[in-house]
Symmetry: C2
Subunit: 449 residues, 2 copies
């Protein structure tokens, strides 16, 4: 600590209790378990290297942090730990329209990169619902998904290369500036989704894509979630690949109605929002409309961009509307697409069995479901924990995963071994030790030691 604060320029670290408290937990709802010893705000790559060199030498745990919007408890910090914030490393270093790529520091806010790209008719495809508040570094470390990933892939699919400070303070460059490349192992992919346990991302070369020429948006209401899921499967079976396919169940619609004064629930117990894009957007939407109609109570094509934007806004209002009713625990399982209906129905049954409120929203295009458990009071009640546990078991039973996009962190670490199996978990441990022999990077996250 003394070495650290002596070596860093003033203003780049803080031990203010309010600052420490603000960096103790993330948006997972996990209550803070104490507070870190110090928060370092790196402004140069050398600050990151310095912190890691010292931490490595003194075996002090370091929790890297972007914006702290994570939902898995991966950026939480407790007594004695150093929080290393990369939020001030927030410059876009290069934006090349001809090569459709950007080189950015990790603290750049996702939406800011997207806006900068838009000036060149380009965009950064991964769009977690937190785009306006999350950082690229956090997106990379969690391999964040988003609405458009049904068609454009997750964060991993947009990362070409990385600069990473390793646990001992050394600097590693991975990947490339070219679209393709197979020289050596895919270290870039290994760092993506590693939740701050293998190294600190200090720069990223990211792929940009053209903004689609047009979009078309459909809003469909269904009597049951099963009907909506069947309709979504029928889109897949018809060979259509919408850019967005979002499903909300009746509990979500009720919450939105109560909070926003809409009347969605009376149109049916499930809502599907579909957006096609590209040169064929109109033709594809027409095909999609034909596919959805036999399953739906109503299907409506948005008449203009403003109406489409309003529909997307309604989708985004689901979570805030649920939060009006009390606290929420947000889960994130994914199942094979064909089992979407079964998963949603089972989740509702789990909620009834444990007598807890649950609403499920799904990125239907890729089988990623967010069951949102509601509760009152500061602590997650046992019934909710038990219900969440059943949801994880359901995901594994259906051949799915504990986490489609939010990550493992602290929140799901006790189930990780169930998904990976012992052989794989042991290999994970050995890999982590190879990158971080002193165990300083985010200890206790992913699995407990």
């Amino acid at each position: 600590m003394a070495a650290l604060t002596a070596a860093l320029p003033g203003g780049r670290w803080s031990t203010e209790p309010s600052v420490l408290a603000a960096h103790a937990t993330d948006r997972s709802g996990l209550p803070a378990q104490g507070a870190p010893a110090v928060v370092v705000f790196a402004e140069e790559v050398d600050d990151v290297r310095l912190v890691l060199r010292l931490a490595h030498a003194h075996r002090t745990p370091v929790v890297v942090r972007g914006a702290g919007t994570g939902l898995a408890g991966a950026a939480t910090a407790t007594g004695g730990e150093i929080v290393l914030s990369t939020a001030r490393l927030n410059r876009i270093l290069e934006l090349s329209a001809p090569d459709q790529l950007a080189v950015v520091q990790p603290g750049v806010i996702t939406a800011e990169l997207d806006s900068a790209a838009a000036e060149h008719g380009l965009r950064y495809a991964p769009d977690p619902a937190s785009v306006a508040i999350s950082t690229i570094g956090g997106n990379i470390a969690t391999n964040a998904g988003g609405l458009r990933c049904a068609k454009y892939g997750v964060t991993r699919d947009s990362v070409l290369g990385l600069d990473v400070v390793l646990a001992d303070g050394s600097l590693l460059r991975t990947g490339r500036r070219t679209v393709k490349g197979v020289a050596g192992y895919d270290l870039t992919g290994l760092f993506v989704g590693s939740e701050g346990t293998l190294g600190v991302v200090v720069a990223a070369t990211l792929r940009l894509r053209p903004v689609p020429r047009s979009t078309a948006t459909l809003s469909a209401h269904f009597a049951t979630v099963a009907d909506a899921a069947a309709a979504s499967s029928a889109l897949t079976a018809a060979g259509l690949q919408p850019a967005v396919a979002e499903l909300l169940d009746g509990a979500n619609l009720e919450a939105i109605d109560a909070a926003q004064g809409t009347a969605l629930r009376e149109r049916g117990a499930a809502w599907l929002l579909v957006q096609t894009d590209g040169t064929g957007a109109e033709a594809e939407a027409a095909l999609a409309e034909d596919v959805l109609t036999p399953f739906a109570r109503s299907v409506r094509r948005a008449s203009d961009v403003a109406e489409a934007e309003r529909l997307l806004e309604v989708r985004r209002l689901a979570l805030p509307s649920l939060e009006r009713r009390g606290r929420v625990l947000i889960e994130d399982i994914a199942v094979p697409r064909s089992l979407l209906a079964e998963a949603v129905d089972e989740i509702a049954a789990i909620g009834r069995r444990h007598d807890v409120r649950v609403a499920t929203m799904a990125h239907a295009g890729d089988g990623n479901l967010h069951p949102i458990f509601g509760y009152d009071g500061p602590e997650v009640p046992d019934a909710v924990t038990r219900a969440a546990d059943e949801v994880f078991r359901l995901a594994l039973r259906l051949g799915g995963t504990l986490t489609g996009e939010h990550g493992v962190g602290l929140l799901k670490r006790q189930w990780l071994g169930d998904e990976l199996g012992e052989e794989s978990l042991a290999l994970h441990r050995r890999l982590r030790t190879l990158f971080d022999p002193g165990g300083v990077l985010n200890p206790g996250k992913l699995w407990s030691d």
Copy 2:
């Protein structure tokens, strides 16, 4: 050896000199440096495990082999080594249309999977020009690209999960059946492109995609390669993303004319073949035609599928036509897309400087170039080696890579350190040792020991 042949059922191994000779090298043009001691034809996963357990115990090198169509010398084997062929592990274990995935053994021929998928209106997107002869296991181990990867990505983008036998014979399962998932590190990605050095793929869960509803094909001739490259960049700048964008230089066209009796070269010194697909294929081709026209001597839209097929066939004839003139050394650099013209021109200049024949074909959509050096006689002449060396340096100088899709193997191992840097190469070594502490898997490939 004695333990191996005693433990394996007869018919699953051979020490016949002709069989050994047939498994000593690949299609890279590297002459065989001796022959392996035995070739094992695994018919069950347990055969693979057995071979690795014994090899691990006795520290005997194992070269995994698919179809041996590799172009990097990654499947070559010399004295004392065991060749472990996965070619007979060739069953499609599952094909799920609703989940758009297949589970296959590694010896399945790429085109056979594609045909099986076609019965469900689906396809396996990665289409190396060797689809008819290469195996899925080899494609995965080299992260093979293909014509369609401009739009649909490389092999990596279609691999959801793997079953891998590790160096000690243990079995690891990675990845998942779901489209998305972030539980644990991306081990799947680490095995993809690892050229048989980290483990033996014994099963793969692969993503399938709908066959596009329609395609449209453009054939454009240009006065110079620079014009063709500028036209290709203009397509990118216009926000168009063709599924195929293949460029052949004048030397290729001359070779095709000589071998096939066509008259392509007189239409210009560069040819660009562009295919759009999807619901918007026609509209996108119309836009592309407008973009190409100002740069081109002529642009023609294929009038039907048969004509489009003929054009693709002409593209595929380039390599065989060059091979009619003598032996070839096929290189595989990639550069940032904006530097395509510069790269092609520099390659031609390198050829002139060293007085060697060189023809360049490029996957223009992603900046991946194949300079094909021609020579006579059995050994690669020094002038060709020197020219190839200059090509690699050119790739690195332009911010590119030694290999876009073929891999490193033996052929490029001496340059790998130049691309990765010492820090990264050292990490590569440590990773490989972690997976294969006895150093039995494909020793000498990627780098020399």
